[in-house]
C-alpha cells in the first residue's frame, strides 16, 4: 500500500507552549482516519501544519512522497489537499452553484480565468457532487441563507469539487441534528475507499459509524492508534481522554 500522507516528527512550538510535539502519522490510500483527542490536543493545529496555514517548527510533511513541508497554502491545495474548516467557510453572498463553480479549480491564474466564461465546465462535475452531498434543490440560493447542516455539506461538496487526493475534515458534524449527522455519516461511508480522508471529530457514535483506524492525540503527541475496539479498550486512552465520562 502506498502512503498518501506521512508526517514525521511534526512539531509546532509557540514561545513557551508546544502545540504539536514530534507527531508522526501515516495515512494510506483509500483510508478514512479519525483523529481524536481532548480540546487542545493539537488536532486542528496538525491540520493547520499539513495545509500550510501554520509553519512547522521542525519535522516534515510528505504527500505521496513529495515534500510539502515548506509550501504555501495554495500550493499545498494544488498538490491535492482539500480542507473543510471547523467553522464552516463558504462564500456567503454567492449562490450554492457559484460556490461549487469557484471550487472547481481547473485554471488557477487570474488571467486564465478571465477567459473562462462561468457555468461552463464545472456543471458536469457538480452534478456528480450533489449526488453525494445533496443540495440539488438549493443551487440558486445564496450560501449565507443555508441552514448550518446544509452549509457543512456545501463545504464538503466544495472540497470534493477540488478533486483532492487527500481530504481533511475538521469536525464535520459540529452543530448538526441527529438526522443531519446520520446523513453525513452516509456521505463519509460513500467516500470511503475511493477517497483518502482524515476526520477530526468529537462525536463518538459518529466515529463508530465511519472509522477504520483511529489516531488519538494528547498534548500534541500521538497517544494511541488502532481500530475502534482497540482504542475503546486502551487503558491509557481511557485515563487521559475519556476520563470519568467514559465512551458514550
Amino acid at each position: 500500500m502506498t502512503s498518501v500522507l506521512e508526517l514525521k516528527g511534526v512539531t509546532r512550538a509557540f514561545n513557551d507552549y508546544i502545540a504539536v510535539n514530534g507527531f508522526d502519522l501515516t495515512v494510506n490510500e483509500g483510508e478514512l482516519r479519525c483523529l481524536l483527542g481532548p480540546n487542545g490536543a493539537g488536532k486542528t493545529t496538525s491540520l493547520d501544519l499539513i495545509t500550510g496555514r501554520q509553519k512547522l517548527t521542525s519535522g516534515s510533511v510528505h504527500l505521496r512522497g513529495n515534500d510539502i513541508t515548506h509550501m504555501s497554502e495554495q500550493q499545498i491545495a494544488r498538490q491535492g489537499v482539500g480542507r473543510k474548516f471547523q467553522v464552516p467557510a463558504v462564500f456567503k453572498e454567492l449562490s450554492v452553484k457559484d460556490n461549487f463553480e469557484v471550487a472547481f479549480t481547473r485554471e488557477r491564474g487570474p488571467f486564465a480565468n478571465m477567459a473562462v466564461m462561468r457555468r461552463s465546465d464545472g456543471e458536469a462535475r457538480y452534478n456528480e457532487i450533489i449526488e453525494i452531498v445533496g443540495l440539488g434543490d438549493r443551487l440558486e440560493v445564496p450560501a449565507g441563507l443555508l441552514s448550518h447542516g446544509e452549509t457543512q455539506w456545501l463545504e464538503i461538496g466544495m472540497v470534493l469539487m477540488q478533486d483532492p487526493s487527500l481530504l481533511l475534515m475538521d469536525e464535520p458534524t459540529a452543530g448538526m441534528t441527529e438526522q443531519e449527522t446520520a446523513k453525513t455519516s452516509d456521505i463519509f461511508n460513500e467516500l470511503k475507499g475511493t477517497h483518502t480522508l482524515i476526520v477530526v471529530e468529537h462525536d463518538m457514535s459518529f466515529v463508530r459509524e465511519i472509522a477504520d483506524i483511529i489516531t488519538v492525540m494528547h498534548m500534541g503527541s500521538l497517544l494511541a492508534e488502532g481500530t475502534i475496539s482497540e482504542i475503546e479498550n486502551n487503558s491509557v486512552v481511557r485515563e487521559v481522554y475519556l476520563g470519568s465520562e467514559g465512551i458514550s
Binding site: T51, R53, E73, Q74, A77, R78, G82, R83, F85, A89, V90, F91, K92, E93, L94, S95, K97, D98, N99, E101, V102, A103, T105, E107, R108, G109, P110, F111, N113, M114, A115, V116, M117, R118, R119, E140, V141, P142, G144, L145, M158, Q162
Partner: protein
C-alpha cells in the same frame, strides 16, 4: 432564470445599455455648453464610482486611495496638454517652471513632449503604481481597515508631493494648459458635445468591459475572495495575485477618469489628490450601491446633481445633508439605491425558480444571475 428580474443577466445588460444610450442622446436635447460640461464631469465622477464599486463592492477591498490613480493621471494629462503648447525648439519649458528657476525641462516631463507617449503614460503610470502598491499590501495579507489606512497614507504622501514639488507640478496653483487637447488634427473643446461624448464613451466602454469581466470566472473568484479569502486560498487560488489584479484594474479605471477630467476642465491641482475627494468617491458608490456598477454610476450622478442644483442657501448645509445621508445609507441601506431596487423588484413576479423573497437585500449581489 430565477424569481427576480434584477438578477436576470439579459435584463441587466439591457438596463446598462439603455442608461448609456440615454446619456449619449443628451446633447441632442440640451445644447447648453455649461450643462454638457457639467454632465461630462459627472460622467468622470461616475467612472470613479465604478472603480470604487469594483474594488470595494466586488473585491471587498476598501481603498481610500483611488485619488492616487486619478491624480497621477490628471498630472500626466495636464502635462501632455501643457507640452502641446510648448515648442520643443525655442520654448520647451512651461512658464511655471521658469518662474520656479528651472532652466531645463525636467527629465520627468521630457516624454510628455510627444502627445501619444504622454497619453499612454497618463494611463500606464498610475496602473503600474497600483500594481506595485498592490503587491506591497496584498502579499503581506494586509486586509480590511488596514488597506483603508495604508491607501489613505499613500494618498496623503502623494498629495504633499504634488503640493510641494513646485518646479515640477506648479504646487498649489496647479497647471492650467492654455489650449484644449489637440488630437487627430483637431481640438477637443471642453464645452463641446465631442468632449461630452468622449467622457460618456469612456464611461460606457469601461463599465461594460468591467461588467463583462465580472461575469467571467475571474469575476466570480474575486467575489469569492471578498466573501472568504482564506477559503479561496485553500481551494488553491493565489489570493494576493487576484487582489493585485483587481486593484490594478480599479486604478486603471480611475486613471482614465483623471485623463478625461483634465480634458474637460483644462486644469490640474493637488486637490485631485485630496483625502476628502477620494472618500467622496466611496460615498457615491455607497449611496448608489457598492455591489452594482450601474448603481455606483447612478449614485455619482445623483449626489453631484443634487449638490449642484441646491440653492446657495442650502449649499451651506450641504455637508450636513451629505454626512447624514451617508450615515443613513451605511446604517440602514448598506446596498444603496441598487439594493433598494433589488428589494422592490423582488416583489414583482418574474420567470420561474425560487421566490424572489429569498434574495433579500442583504444577501443578493447583482452578478449572481444566471
Amino acid at each position: 432564470m430565477n424569481g427576480n428580474i434584477y438578477h436576470n443577466r439579459k435584463a441587466q445588460w439591457v438596463a446598462y445599455v439603455a442608461v448609456f444610450v440615454l446619456l449619449a442622446l443628451v446633447p441632442t436635447v440640451f445644447d447648453n455648453p455649461f450643462t454638457l460640461n457639467q454632465l461630462a464631469r459627472y460622467s468622470v465622477f461616475a467612472l470613479l464610482a465604478v472603480s470604487v464599486s469594483l474594488i470595494w463592492g466586488f473585491g471587498g477591498i476598501l481603498s481610500l486611495g483611488q485619488g492616487i490613480a486619478f491624480g497621477l493621471a490628471s498630472y500626466g494629462m495636464g502635462m501632455t496638454m501643457q507640452m502641446q503648447f510648448q515648442n520643443p525648439e525655442y520654448d520647451p519649458i512651461p512658464s511655471f517652471m521658469l518662474t520656479n528657476e528651472l532652466e531645463t525641462l525636467p527629465l520627468l516631463w521630457e516624454p510628455f513632449l510627444s502627445t501619444p507617449v504622454g497619453l499612454i503614460l497618463t494611463i500606464l503610470v498610475p496602473t503600474g503604481f497600483f500594481v506595485i502598491f498592490g503587491i506591497l499590501m496584498f502579499q503581506a495579507r494586509v486586509a480590511g481597515v488596514f488597506v483603508a489606512i495604508m491607501t489613505l497614507a499613500m494618498l496623503a504622501a502623494w498629495y504633499s508631493m504634488a503640493y510641494d514639488m513646485q518646479p515640477f507640478t506648479a504646487g498649489f496653483n496647479g497647471i492650467s494648459p492654455p489650449l484644449p487637447l489637440q488630437i487627430f488634427g483637431g481640438e477637443v473643446d471642453p464645452y463641446s458635445p465631442l468632449a461630452y461624448w468622449i467622457c460618456v464613451g469612456v464611461l460606457a466602454t469601461l463599465t461594460l468591459a468591467t461588467k463583462a469581466l465580472l461575469h467571467t470566472k475571474f469575476g466570480l473568484i474575486v467575489q469569492a475572495i471578498r466573501d472568504d479569502a482564506e477559503r479561496a486560498r485553500f481551494l488553491g487560488y493565489n489570493v494576493a495575485y487576484y487582489q493585485v489584479v483587481v486593484f490594478a484594474i480599479s486604478g486603471f479605471l480611475a486613471a482614465w477618469a483623471g485623463l478625461c477630467w483634465v480634458m474637460i476642465v483644462q486644469y490640474v491641482s493637488p486637490t485631485s489628490m485630496e483625502i476628502a475627494f477620494s472618500i467622496s468617491m466611496v460615498v457615491w458608490a455607497a449611496v448608489g450601491g457598492r455591489a452594482s456598477l450601474l448603481g455606483a454610476i447612478i449614485g455619482a450622478f445623483m449626489v453631484n446633481g443634487i449638490q449642484s442644483y441646491l440653492g446657495d442657501e442650502l449649499q451651506q448645509v450641504w455637508m450636513l445633508i451629505l454626512g447624514a445621508i451617508f450615515i443613513g445609507v451605511v446604517l440602514f441601506l448598506p446596498r444603496g439605491i441598487a439594493g433598494l431596487l433589488e428589494l422592490i423588484l423582488s416583489k414583482v413576479p418574474f420567470g420561474r425558480g425560487p421566490s424572489g423573497a429569498q434574495w433579500s437585500a442583504e444577501t443578493g449581489t447583482e452578478e449572481k444571475a444566471s
